[in-house]
């Protein structure tokens, strides 16, 4: 049986990988993917806490899982807006290379 700690370690690792991706990848869409990964790592840790914190009546605390739904929704909305911005950026700068988009004005 996996313990709470194991799930949390995995979640931490996922978060770290996502954060590293945000810092190190050059393509904006890959950065977005890494961002999603970070969010999902948070989701994982929330679900883990919900599963292992058993309440007085023997049932798990479902508040965390409801919170996860919120996070997923917000992530989806954010991706929609973000992708729209990327498309606009691509139309303006003709590149998805993040290092080329370092100044506000040409």
């Amino acid at each position: 049986m996996a313990t709470l700690g194991d799930y949390l370690i995995v979640s931490g690792l996922l978060f770290t990988i996502g954060f590293a991706g945000v810092l190190l990848r050059r393509n904006i869409i890959i950065i977005f993917m890494s961002l999603e990964l970070m969010l999902n790592a948070a989701n994982l840790s929330l679900v883990a806490f919900s599963r292992f914190r058993v309440g007085a009546d023997g049932l798990p605390n479902y508040n965390a899982q409801v919170f996860v739904f919120f996070i997923i929704t917000v992530a989806a909305a954010e991706v929609a807006v973000g992708l729209a911005i990327i498309v606009a950026l691509y139309r303006a700068r003709q590149t998805t290379h993040v290092e080329d988009i370092s100044s506000l004005k040409f």
Partner: protein
Amino acid sequence: MQAFSMSVSAWYVLLLPLFSAATIILFTRRAGGVSSIVSVGAAIIGFLFSCAIFASPNTSALELTWIDIRPYLEVPLGFILDDLSKTMLVLVTGVGALIHIYSLGYMRDDAGKARFFAGLSLFMFSMIGIVLANNFVMMFVFWELVGVSSYLLIGHWFERDSAADAAKKAFLTNRVGDFGFMLGILMVWAATGTVVFSEIAGKMSAITSHPGYLTATALLVFCGAVGKSAQFPLHVWLPDAMEGPTPISALIHAATMVAAGVYMLVRVGFLIQASPQALLVIAWIGTITAVIAGLMATQQNDIKRILAYSTLSQLGYMIMAVGLASGEAAMFHLFTHAFFKALLFLGAGSIIVMLHHEQNIWKMGGLAGKLRLTFVTFLIGTLALIGCPPFSGFFSKDAIIGLAYEKNGFIFALALFTAFLTAFYMGRLVLVVFFGNARSENAAQGKESPWVMTGPLLVLAVPAALAGFGFFASRFLPLPHAGEENNVVRFLPTAVMLGGVALAFFLYRNRESDPLDLALFRRRFYIDELYRWLIDATQERLAAIAAFVDRWIVDAGGVGGASGATWGVGSLLRLFQVGNLQAYAFLFGLGLIGIIYFTVFQ
């Protein structure tokens, strides 16, 4: 009548030349003629007022307070009106007025005439200030002002490099002496708490109780006279000062400014005479100056330079007299010297101008017939200078030599030797300039000067001839007492004088060029070269060090360092803001980790 009362008239004498100078500088700078009239008018009116002051028995004048920080220091602006200062005042304003009139002719065609007369008026103001000052600080202020006027006037023809350099040299050499003078004043003030002459005289016991301090103070005060009266070793500026126009040489460097040193020493005679060691030093410096100046004069070829060295020599006599504790003899010689030296300089100026600014005596000759009046007055001046009886110089020089016989055998011998030299080089001068054949075109065409220049010569010739006699001089000065001397000594000065003239006659009669060639004297004992080396060795090195510090430590290290450090830090910090999104995210993450660390684990 209050405005013209005696107590205020001294202020008029002092301030009139100042107003004249101010008027010329502010209003009539372009109009040379008007400026000269203003200046000459001020000088003549000043002389008349001085005569009135001389005639009145009044000894007090209106006094103002300048600095008042009692009980530490109180400096009044007051006048001292005893016989000494009244005589000196008449002398200064009288000779000054005559030279003002003479300058009307001498500077007639000069472009800077207004500037000249403004400087002349400024000088009169400063000199009268020295004569009348009743305290050390006021005298020092005017002392420096006289130095400034001398600088401005020596450098009147400043486009000439030699004149500009001579003016600088005069001022700087004076300044060296004035430094010692200031230290002396400070020492007097420290001991007695006052700078007013009369009060110091009353508090002398505070100084005399420490003989070393007293000697040091006396010698430092003497430093001022060494600078101003061009004694050895600060004599180097006076011959170069001949670069100025001749009326200036006559007024400043013969009759008045250089006499200010002697006057000051007589004024504080109570301080000087309290220390026998200081007196000895003073006497010897005067003697040395007299001797070396006499030696250097025998080989000079510029008429003004010969007279300049002669002035140095006579000043040496005066300082010698001060050192032999007889202020009366010094002032007597100063009195007669002012007349005959001014006469000689003005005569030289007359010759120079009439020969189209020729100053080399070996280009003159045979002028006795052409410039008759100048010749006669010049001759009278020469006879007075070499001490030929019955002219004025005989009495005053004899008084000093007699004093030297009583007090110090060495000095007596050297004084006699100097008298011999004086007669020799003046005989040389007169023979070469006035007799023989004309040695150049200019000399052949010389003619007499206009009346505006020969007039003052005639006026000056009278006191040069007569001022020595007791009945005339005793109205002005206390005469030095005639000590008992044996008959041989009484005639020795006259004998050496005749000897000097005879030697000059023998050597210089009918010559085309100088038969003697003594480089040591002609090159002025190489003292100028010595000073140049000294300045190079010390000041140039200090200046080089200062330049190094300024260039490498202050500029490169300090200023460069500060700006470089700022630039470096700036370029470092600039890397944080390059617009790189991922870099920002990285720093964001770092900050987050820091916050987590500090909130959870601390």
